[in-house]
C-alpha cells in the first residue's frame, strides 16, 4: 500500500516538512499524522491540489491510549486507497482548527464530532448542534468513553419546533415558511425541512434532521463483539443495510488483514447488486408517486416484488439479510437456486425495460428537466456522493475507484450525466438498474466454488477503512479495533449525510410543486410515501366536537 502512495508521501514531505509527524499504513489506505495547527493547510492541499475527493471526518476519544482526542479526515485517492489525515490534541484542551472553510463538505462531520466528543473546532463557520436533540444537556458527549451507553438524561423542558406559519410582510414582499416534515422520509430518519416560500417559489430552506439518531456507534463500541456488529450495521438503514454491513466487514478485514474466500466475495457482490436493484426500483416508484403517477408507482413496486423474492431465495430473508460476518458470509447459495435466480432476473429485466419506456415520456421529463440544478463544482465541494454526484457529471464510483468484493473482476460501466438536474439523476438510476442486472447475471454465471468463510484472530488498535457503493452513494466505515473482541471506535457515514447539504443549492428557486421531487432526487432513503405532516397543535391546541349540535355553540363564540 505504501508503495502506491509513495509519490504522494514524497510530495507532502517536501511541502509540509514541519507539519508531518509520520505516515502509517492502515487497512485500506494510508494514515498521515499531522500537527493540529497545520491541519487546514494540509487538508486544503490534499483537497485542492491533489484533487482528492473528500469523504468524511471523525472524532475519536483516545484518552485511554495516549491521553488525547483525535480527529480523522478521510479523503479518497481514487484507484489507490483512502488517505486519512489524523491530528490529535491533549484532552485538557480539545481545540482543533476547522477545515470547513477549505473543505466545505466537512461542515457536518465536524459539527458531529463537536456534539459527540466535545471537541471544539476553531473557526468553524457554523458551530451549532447537529446530532443531539435540543434538550440534551450541554456538557454530555455520548461518544466519550466515560459515557455509559444506556444513560438517559432527563429532559428538563419539552423541546419545541416552530411549525406554525410565519408570514413576513416587508414592503411588497410576501414570504411564508412551510414546514416539510418531520415525517419526511430522508436518510433513515424523519426529518424536518422548513421551506421559505414566496408565492409558490422556494427561496430558502432550513433543515433539522437526526430524528433517528439511535446511538448506533456507541452501542457498537460498548455492547457488541466484532461478529455481532454486522447485524446492527445492517439495521442502520433498512434499504441499503447490506452495503453497511459489507463495508463494516471490509473495514475489519482490511484492518486485520483477513483473506476472504473468493466465493464469499462474489456472494457479497451479488447481494449488493440485488439490493441496488430493489432500492432503485423503490426510488423510481416513489418518484412516480411524488409526480402523481400512481400507476408508475404501483408497477415499479410490482416489479420490485420479484427482486424481493430473489433476495429471499438467496439469503433467507426479504430484507436485513444477516448473512455478512467478518471473514466471509454465513450462508451459501445452493446450486438449484442459481437457475431460479437467473429466471427471475431475466423477468425483472424484461419488465423493467417495458416500464422504462413507458415512464420516460415527455410529460414526465418536463417535470424533471432543469429543476433542482446542482453544478459540478458545488457537487465536488460539498462532496456529494452516488447518483447525485454522477448526475452532476462526476464519474466516480467506489466499485471502480476503491474496488472491493468481486468488483475487480466484473465488467460494468458507470452511468454519468452532466446536466445536474432531477432528470439526469433519474437517468443515472435507471441506467444503474440495468447495469446491476447485468452484473447479477455475470455473477450468477461465474460463481467460483470454495469455502465461504475464514476464521480470524482479532488484534487491538488496528485502523481499517471500508467503503461500499450503496444505492445512494458511498457508504463509509472507519474503525479502530479494541480489546476484549470489541471495537474501540466505529464511525459510520451514510451517503445521504453528504448529500443533504446540497439540497440548499438544489432547492433554491424551485417551484413548491417540485420541492418534494427535488428532495427525493438525492434519494434520501425514502421510507414513507406520505411524508409530510404538520402538527400545529402545540399542547392540545384543538377542540373536539362529536356532535353537530355543539357546532352551534362554537359559532356563537363559545
Amino acid at each position: 500500500m505504501e508503495a502506491k502512495f509513495s509519490s504522494i508521501i514524497e510530495e507532502l514531505e517536501n511541502i509540509f516538512k514541519n507539519c508531518i509527524i509520520g505516515f502509517k499504513e492502515i487497512g485500506g489506505g494510508l494514515l498521515t499524522e499531522v500537527k493540529a495547527e497545520c491541519l487546514p493547510e494540509v487538508a486544503s492541499y490534499v483537497f485542492n491540489n491533489l484533487r482528492m475527493y473528500y469523504s468524511t471526518s471523525s472524532g475519536s476519544d483516545e484518552r485511554s491510549i495516549d491521553g488525547k482526542f483525535a480527529v480523522y479526515h478521510v479523503f479518497s485517492a481514487d484507484g489507490i486507497g483512502f488517505f486519512v489525515l489524523k491530528a490529535s490534541v491533549p484532552a485538557t484542551k480539545p481545540c482543533i482548527p476547522s477545515i470547513t472553510s477549505k473543505v466545505p463538505g466537512a461542515n457536518w462531520a465536524e459539527r458531529e464530532a463537536m456534539d459527540m466528543f466535545g471537541i471544539t473546532f476553531i473557526n468553524h463557520p457554523e458551530p451549532k448542534r447537529l446530532v443531539l436533540p435540543d434538550d440534551w444537556p450541554k456538557n454530555l458527549h455520548p461518544l466519550r468513553k466515560d459515557f455509559e451507553y444506556s444513560y438517559r438524561p432527563s429532559s428538563s423542558s419539552e423541546p419545541t419546533i416552530s411549525t406554525s406559519i410565519d408570514i413576513y410582510v416587508g414592503g411588497t414582499e410576501y414570504a411564508s415558511t412551510l414546514p416539510l416534515g418531520p415525517y419526511h422520509p430522508a436518510l433513515h430518519e424523519p426529518e424536518y425541512f422548513e421551506l421559505l416560500i414566496k408565492g409558490e417559489e422556494v427561496i430558502d430552506v432550513k433543515y433539522r434532521g437526526f430524528h433517528v439518531h439511535r446511538g448506533i456507534e456507541k452501542i457498537g463500541e460498548s455492547k457488541l463483539t466484532y461478529n455481532q456488529v454486522p447485524f446492527i450495521a445492517e439495521r442502520i438503514c433498512g434499504i441499503c443495510g447490506f452495503a453497511h454491513s459489507s463495508s463494516y466487514c471490509i473495514a475489519i478485514e482490511r484492518a486485520l488483514k483477513i483473506d476472504v474466500p473468493e466465493r464469499a466475495q462474489y456472494i457479497r457482490s451479488l447481494i449488493l447488486e440485488i439490493e441496488r436493484i430493489h432500492s432503485h426500483l423503490l426510488w423510481v416508484g416513489v418518484a412516480c408517486h411524488l409526480l402523481g403517477f400512481e400507476t408508475g408507482f404501483m408497477q415499479s413496486w410490482r416489479i420490485r416484488e420479484h427482486v424481493m423474492e430473489l433476495a429471499e431465495l438467496l439469503t433467507g430473508s426479504r430484507k436485513t439479510y444477516g448473512i455478512n460476518i467478518p471473514g466471509g458470509v454465513r450462508r451459501d447459495i445452493l446450486e438449484p437456486y442459481i437457475d431460479r435466480a437467473k429466471k427471475v432476473i431475466k423477468l425483472v429485466e424484461d419488465e423493467f425495460k417495458v416500464l422504462r419506456d413507458k415512464l420516460l415520456v415527455p410529460e414526465v421529463k418536463v417535470r424533471l428537466k432543469e429543476i433542482g440544478y446542482l453544478p459540478k463544482e458545488d457537487a465536488r465541494k460539498l462532496a456529494v456522493l452516488g447518483p447525485t454526484m454522477r448526475g452532476s457529471g462526476i464519474a466516480r464510483d467506489v466499485r471502480k475507484d476503491q474496488p472491493y468484493c468481486a468488483y475487480r473482476d466484473l465488467d460494468f460501466r458507470i452511468a454519468v450525466y452532466d446536466e445536474g438536474d432531477n432528470l439526469s439523476r433519474t437517468l443515472v438510476r435507471i441506467d444503474e438498474i440495468l447495469e446491476s442486472i447485468n452484473i447479477v447475471k455475470q455473477i450468477l454465471d461465474n460463481l467460483p466454488s470454495g469455502p465461504i468463510r475464514t476464521e480470524f484472530e482479532p488484534k487491538p488498535y488496528r485502523i481499517g477503512v471500508g467503503a461500499a457503493e450503496a444505492p445512494r452513494g458511498e457508504v463509509f466505515h472507519l474503525l479502530i479495533t479494541g480489546e476484549r473482541n470489541r471495537l474501540y471506535r466505529w464511525r459510520v457515514r451514510a451517503p445521504t449525510y453528504n448529500n443533504i447539504p446540497a439540497l440548499k443549492i438544489m432547492l433554491r428557486g424551485v417551484p413548491l410543486a417540485d420541492a418534494p421531487i427535488t428532495i427525493a432526487s438525492i434519494d434520501p432513503c425514502f421510507s414513507c410515501t406520505d411524508r409530510c405532516i404538520l402538527i400545529k397543535d402545540l399542547d392540545h391546541n384543538y377542540v373536539k366536537r362529536t356532535s353537530l349540535l355543539s357546532f352551534r355553540k362554537f359559532i356563537k363564540g363559545d
Binding site: 406559519i165 411524488l290 409526480l291 410543486a513 400545529k536 366536537r545
Partner: protein
C-alpha cells in the same frame, strides 16, 4: 299525467345521482386498481368511508374560524340543491325561469365555499391549496360561464329545460358542451389537475384540517359536485339530441332518462380511467391549459351570436 312522470323522473334522477355518485367513485377506484394490477377496494367503498367518517369525532383547530365548520355543510347543501334543477331526460317541471343562473351559482359557489372554509383553518397547506384552487376556479368557471352564455344566447331562454327543448342540433351548443365536459374534468380535481389536494406536496391541501363528520360532508359534496358538473355538460351536449330522437312521449322520456344516466356514469368511469394514466402537473401549466381551453366557448359564443 305526463307532468307527473316528469316530476317523478326528476326526483328519481336526483336520488339516483345522490346515491350513485359515490358508487361511481368506487367503480373508478376499482378500475384504477385493475390498471395497476391490483384487486382494489369493494365498489361501495366510498359509501363505507363516508359512513365511517360520520361516526368519528371531528377535531377543530383553535385557529379555525366559524366558516371552517359550516362550509362543508353549506357546500353539500348547495350541491344537493343543484340536483333537482338538472335535466334528466324529461322536461324539468321543478325548473323555473332563470334556473340556469341558479345552477351556475350553486356549482361555482359550492366549490368556492369549500375552499374558503379550508382557508379558514389557518393551516399553511390549506392556504396553498386554497390559492391554487382559486386560480384554477377562476379559469374554469370562466369557461363554464361562457358555455352557458352560449346556450342562453342560442335559445334566448334562461331556463335549462327550455334551452334543451329549443335547441335541436347546433354546432355552437356542441362546442360549448365539449368545453364544459373538458372543464368538468379539470374542475373535478382529477390528475393531472389534482393540485389542491396533492398529497405528496401539500398533504391533502384544502382537506388537511378536516376530520370526522366535517370531512365526510366535504368529501360527499366534492363527489356530488363531480356528478352535477358531468350531468350539466351532458345536458348541454347530448340532451337536445336525445329529445330530438325520442321526443317527450312516455317511452321517449323514459329512454332518454336511462340513456342520459348511463352516459353520465360512463363518462365518470372514463374520467377515472384517464386519471390513472396521468401524473400531476404544476399549477402554472394547468392554468395555461385552461386558458387555451377558453378558445372553445369563445368560438361557440361567436357561432351562437350568428345563429348557428
Amino acid at each position: 299525467m305526463l307532468s307527473i312522470l316528469y316530476v317523478i323522473l326528476t326526483i328519481l334522477g336526483s336520488i339516483i345521482g345522490f346515491t350513485v355518485a359515490p358508487l361511481v367513485d368506487g367503480i373508478e377506484r376499482k378500475i384504477r386498481a385493475k390498471i395497476q394490477n391490483r384487486i382494489g377496494p369493494p365498489l361501495i367503498q366510498t359509501w363505507l368511508d363516508i359512513a365511517k367518517l360520520l361516526r368519528k369525532e371531528s377535531l377543530i383547530p383553535r385557529t379555525a374560524k366559524a366558516l371552517f365548520i359550516i362550509a362543508p355543510a353549506i357546500a353539500l347543501a348547495m350541491n344537493i340543491a343543484a340536483l333537482p334543477l338538472l335535466y334528466y331526460g324529461a322536461p324539468n317541471v321543478l325548473g323555473f325561469y332563470g334556473d340556469i343562473i341558479l345552477i351556475l351559482y350553486l356549482v361555482v359557489g359550492s366549490s368556492l365555499i369549500l375552499s374558503l372554509g379550508a382557508a379558514a383553518s389557518g393551516n399553511p397547506y390549506a392556504t396553498i391549496g386554497f390559492s391554487r384552487k382559486i386560480s384554477l376556479l377562476i379559469a374554469c368557471e370562466l369557461v363554464v360561464a361562457l358555455s352557458i352564455a352560449t346556450a342562453i344566447l342560442k335559445t334566448g331562454s334562461l331556463s335549462l329545460t327550455e334551452v334543451i327543448l329549443r335547441t335541436g342540433i347546433a354546432p355552437s351548443m356542441i362546442i360549448a358542451g365539449i368545453a364544459l365536459l373538458i372543464v368538468t374534468y379539470i374542475e373535478s380535481l382529477r390528475l393531472p389537475f389534482e393540485l389542491t389536494e396533492a398529497k405528496p406536496e401539500i398533504m391533502g391541501g384544502i382537506f388537511v384540517e378536516y376530520s370526522g363528520r366535517l370531512l365526510a360532508f366535504a368529501e360527499l359534496s366534492h363527489i356530488l359536485h363531480r356528478f352535477v358538473m358531468t350531468l350539466l355538460s351532458l345536458d348541454i351536449l347530448i340532451a337536445p339530441l336525445l329529445k330530438l330522437v325520442f321526443g317527450v312521449s312516455i317511452m321517449g322520456v323514459l329512454m332518454s332518462f336511462i340513456i342520459l344516466m348511463l352516459i353520465s356514469i360512463l363518462v365518470l368511469i372514463v374520467y377515472g380511467a384517464i386519471e390513472s394514466l396521468c401524473g400531476r402537473t404544476r399549477i402554472d401549466r394547468a392554468l395555461i391549459f385552461t386558458a387555451r381551453l377558453m378558445i372553445l366557448p369563445i368560438i361557440s359564443l361567436i357561432l351562437a351570436s350568428i345563429g348557428v
